[in-house]
Protein backbone atom coordinates (compact mmCIF):
# COMPACT_ATOMS: atom_id res chain seq x y z
CA UNK A 1 0.00 0.00 0.00
CA UNK A 2 1.15 3.50 -0.82
CA UNK A 3 1.41 5.49 2.39
CA UNK A 4 1.03 9.10 3.45
CA UNK A 5 4.68 9.19 4.55
CA UNK A 6 5.63 10.02 0.97
CA UNK A 7 3.35 13.03 1.10
CA UNK A 8 5.34 14.46 4.00
CA UNK A 9 8.53 14.16 1.96
CA UNK A 10 6.80 15.74 -1.02
CA UNK A 11 5.73 18.71 1.07
CA UNK A 12 9.29 19.49 2.01
CA UNK A 13 10.36 19.16 -1.60
CA UNK A 14 7.78 21.46 -3.18
CA UNK A 15 7.05 23.93 -0.40
CA UNK A 16 9.66 26.45 -1.44
CA UNK A 17 8.57 26.44 -5.03
CA UNK A 18 4.85 26.91 -4.40
CA UNK A 19 5.14 30.51 -3.36
CA UNK A 20 6.59 31.40 -6.74
CA UNK A 21 3.53 30.12 -8.61
CA UNK A 22 0.92 32.78 -9.01
CA UNK A 23 -1.92 33.77 -11.25
CA UNK A 24 -0.58 35.15 -14.46
CA UNK A 25 -2.57 37.87 -16.23
CA UNK A 26 -1.86 36.59 -19.74
CA UNK A 27 -2.59 33.00 -18.93
CA UNK A 28 -4.66 30.96 -21.39
CA UNK A 29 -7.72 29.42 -19.73
CA UNK A 30 -8.99 26.11 -21.09
CA UNK A 31 -12.35 24.96 -19.79
CA UNK A 32 -13.92 21.52 -20.30
CA UNK A 33 -17.67 20.96 -19.80
CA UNK A 34 -18.13 18.30 -17.11
CA UNK A 35 -21.87 18.09 -16.49
CA UNK A 36 -23.86 14.89 -17.19
CA UNK A 37 -23.90 15.64 -20.94
CA UNK A 38 -20.15 16.21 -21.11
CA UNK A 39 -19.24 13.24 -18.91
CA UNK A 40 -21.51 10.88 -20.86
CA UNK A 41 -20.00 12.07 -24.16
CA UNK A 42 -16.43 11.43 -23.00
CA UNK A 43 -15.25 14.68 -21.42
CA UNK A 44 -13.25 13.07 -18.62
CA UNK A 45 -10.49 11.64 -20.84
CA UNK A 46 -10.34 14.97 -22.73
CA UNK A 47 -9.94 16.94 -19.50
CA UNK A 48 -7.32 14.53 -18.18
CA UNK A 49 -5.38 14.52 -21.45
CA UNK A 50 -5.19 18.32 -21.53
CA UNK A 51 -4.27 18.58 -17.84
CA UNK A 52 -1.66 15.80 -18.05
CA UNK A 53 0.01 17.12 -21.22
CA UNK A 54 0.12 20.70 -19.89
CA UNK A 55 1.74 19.37 -16.74
CA UNK A 56 4.17 17.12 -18.63
CA UNK A 57 5.29 19.97 -20.85
CA UNK A 58 5.77 22.26 -17.87
CA UNK A 59 3.20 24.77 -19.12
CA UNK A 60 1.15 25.11 -15.93
CA UNK A 61 2.25 28.73 -15.57
CA UNK A 62 0.96 29.56 -19.07
CA UNK A 63 -2.10 27.35 -19.52
CA UNK A 64 -4.72 26.74 -16.89
CA UNK A 65 -7.01 23.74 -17.42
CA UNK A 66 -10.27 23.65 -15.50
CA UNK A 67 -13.81 22.36 -15.72
CA UNK A 68 -17.27 23.86 -15.89
CA UNK A 69 -20.90 22.73 -15.94
CA UNK A 70 -23.38 22.56 -18.79
CA UNK A 71 -23.50 25.50 -21.18
CA UNK A 72 -26.67 24.27 -22.89
CA UNK A 73 -25.12 22.77 -26.04
CA UNK A 74 -25.31 19.17 -24.85
CA UNK A 75 -25.45 17.68 -28.34
CA UNK A 76 -21.99 19.07 -29.13
CA UNK A 77 -20.21 17.72 -26.06
CA UNK A 78 -17.44 17.15 -25.20
CA UNK A 79 -16.92 20.93 -25.46
CA UNK A 80 -13.63 22.69 -24.80
CA UNK A 81 -13.59 26.48 -24.53
CA UNK A 82 -10.38 28.48 -24.85
CA UNK A 83 -10.12 31.93 -23.33
CA UNK A 84 -7.09 33.98 -24.34
CA UNK A 85 -6.67 37.49 -22.98
CA UNK A 86 -7.59 40.07 -25.60
CA UNK A 87 -9.02 37.50 -28.02
CA UNK A 88 -12.48 36.10 -28.77
CA UNK A 89 -13.41 32.88 -27.01
CA UNK A 90 -12.89 29.77 -29.14
CA UNK A 91 -15.33 26.88 -28.67
CA UNK A 92 -14.26 23.41 -29.78
CA UNK A 93 -17.01 20.82 -30.09
CA UNK A 94 -17.25 17.01 -30.17
CA UNK A 95 -13.75 16.67 -28.79
CA UNK A 96 -11.76 13.54 -28.09
CA UNK A 97 -8.27 12.80 -26.82
CA UNK A 98 -6.60 13.06 -30.24
CA UNK A 99 -8.33 16.33 -31.10
CA UNK A 100 -7.36 17.65 -27.68
CA UNK A 101 -3.69 16.87 -28.38
CA UNK A 102 -3.95 18.67 -31.71
CA UNK A 103 -5.56 21.72 -30.12
CA UNK A 104 -2.88 21.77 -27.45
CA UNK A 105 -0.03 21.66 -29.98
CA UNK A 106 -1.43 23.94 -32.66
CA UNK A 107 -3.57 26.41 -30.73
CA UNK A 108 -2.54 26.56 -27.09
CA UNK A 109 1.19 26.24 -27.86
CA UNK A 110 1.37 27.29 -31.51
CA UNK A 111 -1.17 30.11 -31.39
CA UNK A 112 -3.24 28.99 -34.41
CA UNK A 113 -6.91 28.15 -33.90
CA UNK A 114 -7.74 24.66 -35.19
CA UNK A 115 -10.72 25.78 -37.29
CA UNK A 116 -11.99 22.34 -38.28
CA UNK A 117 -13.04 21.50 -34.70
CA UNK A 118 -14.61 24.83 -33.78
CA UNK A 119 -18.28 25.51 -33.39
CA UNK A 120 -18.01 28.28 -35.98
CA UNK A 121 -16.78 25.94 -38.71
CA UNK A 122 -19.67 23.54 -38.14
CA UNK A 123 -22.06 26.28 -39.25
CA UNK A 124 -23.35 27.00 -35.76
CA UNK A 125 -23.39 30.35 -34.12
Amino acid sequence: MKSLAELQALREKVQNRVNIRQENADMIRVVVGMATCGIAAGARPVLNELADRVQEKGLTDKIQVSQTGCIGLCQYEPIVEVFEPGKDKVTYIKMDVDKADEVLERHLIGGHVVDKYTMGSSGLK
Partner: protein
Amino acid sequence: MMTEISLNILDVAENSTRANASLVTLIVAASTAEDTLKVVIADDGCGMTEEQVQKVTDPFFTTRTTRKVGLGVPFFKQAAESTGGSFDIVSEPGVGTTVTAVFGLSNIDRMPLGDISSTVHNLIIYHPETDFFFRYSVDGREFTLDTREMKEILGGVPLDEPEVSAYIKEYLVENKKETDKEVFV
Protein backbone atom coordinates in the same frame (compact mmCIF):
# COMPACT_ATOMS: atom_id res chain seq x y z
CA MET B 1 -26.16 6.43 -20.62
CA MET B 2 -22.81 6.38 -18.92
CA THR B 3 -20.37 3.63 -19.88
CA GLU B 4 -18.84 3.17 -16.43
CA ILE B 5 -20.24 3.31 -12.89
CA SER B 6 -17.31 5.59 -12.03
CA LEU B 7 -18.68 8.18 -14.48
CA ASN B 8 -22.04 8.11 -12.70
CA ILE B 9 -20.20 8.64 -9.44
CA LEU B 10 -18.28 11.59 -10.91
CA ASP B 11 -21.51 13.11 -12.22
CA VAL B 12 -23.54 12.70 -9.04
CA ALA B 13 -20.66 13.85 -6.82
CA GLU B 14 -20.40 17.00 -8.97
CA ASN B 15 -23.92 17.77 -7.74
CA SER B 16 -22.63 17.57 -4.17
CA THR B 17 -19.95 20.15 -4.90
CA ARG B 18 -22.52 22.42 -6.54
CA ALA B 19 -24.64 22.04 -3.41
CA ASN B 20 -21.73 23.74 -1.59
CA ALA B 21 -20.78 20.67 0.40
CA SER B 22 -17.71 21.07 2.57
CA LEU B 23 -17.26 17.29 2.83
CA VAL B 24 -18.22 14.66 0.27
CA THR B 25 -17.97 11.00 1.30
CA LEU B 26 -17.58 8.40 -1.43
CA ILE B 27 -17.87 4.73 -0.55
CA VAL B 28 -17.40 1.92 -3.02
CA ALA B 29 -17.76 -1.54 -1.51
CA ALA B 30 -17.73 -4.82 -3.42
CA SER B 31 -18.63 -8.13 -1.82
CA THR B 32 -18.44 -11.37 -3.76
CA ALA B 33 -20.11 -13.23 -0.86
CA GLU B 34 -23.15 -10.93 -0.96
CA ASP B 35 -22.80 -10.47 -4.72
CA THR B 36 -23.20 -6.71 -4.38
CA LEU B 37 -21.39 -3.55 -5.37
CA LYS B 38 -22.51 -0.75 -3.12
CA VAL B 39 -21.89 2.90 -3.92
CA VAL B 40 -22.62 5.70 -1.46
CA ILE B 41 -22.23 9.42 -2.21
CA ALA B 42 -22.96 11.50 0.88
CA ASP B 43 -22.56 15.24 1.31
CA ASP B 44 -23.22 17.97 3.84
CA GLY B 45 -24.41 20.41 1.18
CA CYS B 46 -27.59 22.44 0.94
CA GLY B 47 -29.85 19.37 0.65
CA MET B 48 -33.20 19.06 -1.08
CA THR B 49 -36.81 19.46 -0.06
CA GLU B 50 -39.05 16.39 0.00
CA GLU B 51 -40.64 17.58 -3.22
CA GLN B 52 -37.25 17.92 -4.94
CA VAL B 53 -36.18 14.46 -3.76
CA GLN B 54 -39.30 12.98 -5.33
CA LYS B 55 -38.67 14.78 -8.60
CA VAL B 56 -34.94 14.23 -8.88
CA THR B 57 -35.27 10.76 -10.41
CA ASP B 58 -37.55 12.23 -13.09
CA PRO B 59 -35.45 12.88 -16.22
CA PHE B 60 -37.53 15.95 -17.01
CA PHE B 61 -36.69 17.67 -13.76
CA THR B 62 -33.63 19.86 -13.26
CA THR B 63 -32.78 23.04 -11.40
CA ARG B 64 -30.48 24.07 -14.24
CA THR B 65 -31.46 26.89 -16.52
CA THR B 66 -29.22 25.88 -19.42
CA ARG B 67 -31.40 22.90 -20.40
CA LYS B 68 -34.67 21.25 -19.53
CA VAL B 69 -33.60 17.71 -18.67
CA GLY B 70 -31.69 16.28 -15.73
CA LEU B 71 -30.38 12.82 -16.54
CA GLY B 72 -27.60 12.32 -14.02
CA VAL B 73 -29.62 10.80 -11.20
CA PRO B 74 -32.03 8.86 -13.48
CA PHE B 75 -29.03 7.28 -15.27
CA PHE B 76 -27.53 6.18 -11.97
CA LYS B 77 -30.85 4.81 -10.69
CA GLN B 78 -31.54 2.89 -13.87
CA ALA B 79 -28.02 1.48 -13.94
CA ALA B 80 -28.40 0.09 -10.42
CA GLU B 81 -31.96 -1.16 -10.70
CA SER B 82 -31.32 -2.93 -14.01
CA THR B 83 -28.86 -5.21 -12.18
CA GLY B 84 -31.41 -6.33 -9.59
CA GLY B 85 -30.05 -3.75 -7.18
CA SER B 86 -31.58 -0.77 -5.45
CA PHE B 87 -31.40 3.01 -5.41
CA ASP B 88 -32.16 5.43 -2.62
CA ILE B 89 -31.84 9.15 -1.90
CA VAL B 90 -32.15 10.66 1.55
CA SER B 91 -31.95 14.43 1.81
CA GLU B 92 -32.76 17.25 4.14
CA PRO B 93 -32.45 20.97 3.46
CA GLY B 94 -29.48 22.40 5.34
CA VAL B 95 -28.21 18.97 6.34
CA GLY B 96 -27.15 17.25 3.13
CA THR B 97 -27.88 14.45 0.72
CA THR B 98 -26.98 10.76 0.69
CA VAL B 99 -27.34 8.73 -2.50
CA THR B 100 -27.02 4.96 -2.19
CA ALA B 101 -26.93 2.63 -5.18
CA VAL B 102 -26.55 -1.13 -4.89
CA PHE B 103 -25.63 -3.16 -7.97
CA GLY B 104 -25.76 -6.91 -8.49
CA LEU B 105 -22.01 -7.59 -8.67
CA SER B 106 -22.16 -10.57 -11.03
CA ASN B 107 -25.23 -9.37 -12.94
CA ILE B 108 -24.63 -9.42 -16.70
CA ASP B 109 -26.16 -5.94 -17.02
CA ARG B 110 -23.83 -4.34 -14.52
CA MET B 111 -21.41 -2.03 -16.25
CA PRO B 112 -17.84 -2.11 -15.01
CA LEU B 113 -16.89 0.23 -12.18
CA GLY B 114 -14.31 1.64 -14.59
CA ASP B 115 -11.70 4.21 -13.73
CA ILE B 116 -12.77 5.12 -10.21
CA SER B 117 -9.26 6.42 -9.48
CA SER B 118 -9.70 9.11 -12.16
CA THR B 119 -13.13 10.00 -10.79
CA VAL B 120 -11.81 10.57 -7.27
CA HIS B 121 -8.70 12.32 -8.56
CA ASN B 122 -10.76 14.65 -10.78
CA LEU B 123 -13.08 15.54 -7.93
CA ILE B 124 -10.19 16.32 -5.58
CA ILE B 125 -8.13 18.35 -8.07
CA TYR B 126 -10.96 20.44 -9.50
CA HIS B 127 -12.71 21.15 -6.21
CA PRO B 128 -9.95 22.38 -3.92
CA GLU B 129 -12.46 23.98 -1.56
CA THR B 130 -14.30 20.71 -0.96
CA ASP B 131 -12.94 17.90 1.20
CA PHE B 132 -13.34 14.31 0.12
CA PHE B 133 -13.31 11.09 2.06
CA PHE B 134 -13.05 7.98 -0.11
CA ARG B 135 -13.26 4.38 1.07
CA TYR B 136 -12.78 1.51 -1.33
CA SER B 137 -13.30 -2.05 -0.18
CA VAL B 138 -13.38 -5.47 -1.78
CA ASP B 139 -14.23 -8.53 0.30
CA GLY B 140 -13.04 -6.95 3.53
CA ARG B 141 -9.79 -5.50 2.13
CA GLU B 142 -9.89 -1.72 2.01
CA PHE B 143 -8.08 1.57 1.73
CA THR B 144 -9.13 5.14 2.40
CA LEU B 145 -8.19 8.61 1.25
CA ASP B 146 -9.05 11.69 3.27
CA THR B 147 -8.16 15.11 1.84
CA ARG B 148 -8.45 16.68 5.31
CA GLU B 149 -5.62 14.42 6.47
CA MET B 150 -3.60 15.18 3.32
CA LYS B 151 -4.09 18.94 3.66
CA GLU B 152 -2.85 18.76 7.24
CA ILE B 153 0.32 16.96 6.20
CA LEU B 154 0.86 19.36 3.28
CA GLY B 155 0.56 22.55 5.29
CA GLY B 156 -0.10 25.22 2.69
CA VAL B 157 0.96 23.18 -0.36
CA PRO B 158 -2.15 22.83 -2.55
CA LEU B 159 -3.49 19.45 -3.67
CA ASP B 160 -3.38 20.52 -7.32
CA GLU B 161 0.35 21.23 -7.19
CA PRO B 162 1.58 18.98 -10.07
CA GLU B 163 3.70 16.63 -7.97
CA VAL B 164 1.05 16.33 -5.26
CA SER B 165 -1.62 15.72 -7.89
CA ALA B 166 0.51 12.95 -9.40
CA TYR B 167 1.06 11.42 -5.96
CA ILE B 168 -2.71 11.37 -5.28
CA LYS B 169 -3.34 9.61 -8.59
CA GLU B 170 -0.66 7.01 -7.84
CA TYR B 171 -1.99 6.55 -4.31
CA LEU B 172 -5.45 5.79 -5.70
CA VAL B 173 -4.29 3.51 -8.52
CA GLU B 174 -1.78 1.50 -6.49
CA ASN B 175 -3.95 1.03 -3.43
CA LYS B 176 -6.95 0.05 -5.55
CA LYS B 177 -4.85 -2.58 -7.30
CA GLU B 178 -3.78 -4.08 -3.99
CA THR B 179 -7.33 -3.98 -2.65
CA ASP B 180 -8.79 -5.62 -5.76
CA LYS B 181 -6.38 -8.59 -5.82
CA GLU B 182 -8.00 -11.08 -8.19
CA VAL B 183 -11.51 -9.60 -8.02
CA PHE B 184 -12.52 -7.62 -11.10
CA VAL B 185 -14.86 -4.81 -10.10
